[in-house]
Amino acid sequence: MQIQRDRERKELVVRTVVFTPFSIIVMVGGFLLLRNNPMSQILTTLFAIVWGTFSVLALFYSMNLIVQLFPTRKYNKIIPFVFVGPAILIIGWYLLIPTVRSLVLSFMNRNSTAFAGLENYKYIFTDSTMRTAFGNTVLWLLFGTAFAVFFGLLTALMAERSAIEKLGKTLVFLPMGISMVGAGVIWKFMYAYKPVGANQTGLLNALVVAFGGEPKSWLGTAPMNNFFLIIIFVWLQTGFSLVVLAAALKGVSEEIKEAARIDGAKEFTVLMKIVLPSIYGSIVTVSTTIMLAALKSFDIVYSMTNGLYGTEVLASQQYKQMFKFLDYGRGSAIAIIILLAVSPVIYYNLKEFNKREVF
């Protein structure tokens, strides 16, 4: 027994001693190689994929080997940190450091050369374009979320009772596969405007003209244009809420519903008193997830109106300040405001997420 354990231990030590230096050389060497960028694009990509995958495997494998050299009790204590550690380090590097940096920059002047105090935040809350952006972001939050969840729920309820459940769900879910910018390009054709008398290439204006109306510039007139943009967002997000809510509906117990009906409850009462409360958790999770998307909404505005005609939102303003006007102070300050606005939603979302298994 003792002999065998000794042999295993010896083998472990040998393996560690052979393997660990190899991994380190490969990891560092590959990094240095990529940094010098000597290969063509395709070779670099292939190398990066192979090297990256195996480096990660090698890293965990050799760290595990090293930790195995410790006695079992210590091993059990250390090993969780070994497995989670790299992930936390990488996330810290990519998320935490930039966040702290943005926070610092938001108190600096435009080139980040001097301290500017609260000047950037003062600008954010007093400038007229920024006020429009705040107002519109609230519109997006309220209406974008409300309509996406409402239509998702409605289609989920209807699909449950429909003969073409699968087809209907697929059709509603389909737009989820389209990127926001792609949707913007598609919807540009829906809203296209041509003067009176010319051939209307936009579907909406073609309909209006066919019924004897005058063509309108849908995206050019505030505040209605915000709603035309939000419609696109709703079109994209309804599929998501449909899928989650439809799954949740399947989980509602048939017996309770049956019992309520036997007790004389009308369908509407069953829906309000039994079905909706049962899927409450899913509704909250869907709402908060869509809310996050609405808060960050940038692509649709950017590709459709670029924030003109009073459609500016916070995210598009951030992009403009940062990359167009090169004002890192203001750009960072807006980013921090968005982060602050998102945080409670994320927190609540995670709490709900932990409490119930909604997805």
Binding site: F47, F54, K324, L326
Partner: protein, 426 residues
Amino acid sequence: MRKFSKVMLFVLVLMLVMQGVWAQGTKETAAQDKTIRIFGAFRGEEAARFDEIIRIFNEKSGYNAVYEGSPEFETQILVQAEAGTPPDIAALPQPGIMHKFAQEGYIKPLSSRVIGMIDANYAPVWKDLGSYGGKTYGVFHRVNAKSFVWYPKKAFEAKGYKVPKTWDELRALQDQIVRDGGYPWSIGFESGNATGWVGTDWMEDVMLRTAGPEVYDQWVNHEIPFDHPAVKRALDYLGEIFLNPKYVYGGAPYILTTNFGDSVKPLFDKPTKVFMNRQGNFITGFMPQNIQDNLEEEVGVFPLPSIDEKWGTPILGGGDQFVVFNDKPGVQEFMEFLTTWESGAPWAQVGGALFPHKSQDFNDYGNSLEREIAKALVDATVFRFDASDLMPAEVGAGSFWTGMVEYVNGKDAKSVLSDIEKSWPR
């Protein structure tokens, strides 16, 4: 587990070997790196024509210059410069960006040889536009001239219209066209995330004509506020056209939703309803193919008429300046090549480009329209660079564009101008 570790070991050894081999290869390729990366904003047909120019250079010099265009150039070049991975040469549309890069030390001054070539072959204004802090960084190659009005020649002449020489004649012509049941202007502001620049171009042209070049320069440098009466006066001149739905085909909604390139197309609809489009020389490339094929018979052009005799008929223009990020072999040679007419002639022959080179042969231009415009550009007594490209980005690529859009959308002139004034960075 044993098998797994053997496989891992094998792959790792393999990768070590590969790294060694590649590292060997690196040294050799680095020594004879002949590639020159050029990055700019223009794409499509324009990029294809520029590729032809590059080919001449490559054949002559043995280098391998490669051009790449991006619709997100303004953002990308900034990110690349700050990340330390810039191209070797970039074509910057805005002198303001060049100033920033020069300030930060991202771009390298031109060699004295290239500067000598610029002195010999360009009017002083181009050297000034390419200089910052006493050093010269930029070479202009293809430029554009914007103060021109295009019209469908046949329909225009059939109606008996005359080319206006003064603003009053232009006004008379506008009213005459309206009386005949047509629209004088087709105007389109839409241009993706640069929507509004057509409006600022109009504004600059009128500023030059009402206030003159000195006040124009003060306006550009913010020595007079943006809501100065002189600026307001220019905007009022524009309002007379922009805000009158009888003067502009489709009215304000059409202006705001029509792409600048598409706005020239209705001029060639049959029967003709719209007669004029004010745009730079590059607009010929957006005309319908059958019109482009018979440019000289189908299209007429005249400079936007003078408003105040004192200032004559100034020319507004713009252009990309090429700047050097990496002073590696071949780069200064390429810059030198750009200053010679050899780099312009083939493009002039195909059309769609103007050049400021003094040594150019006007006969090289493929059609009489561009020949006339090129002459007007080289001979212009007053030439000014696009103001919005000279102003800080917050204004020139931000509030000035949006301000023009809002003005057309019904906001009053006073608040438009005071909003732009407020946005000027302090």
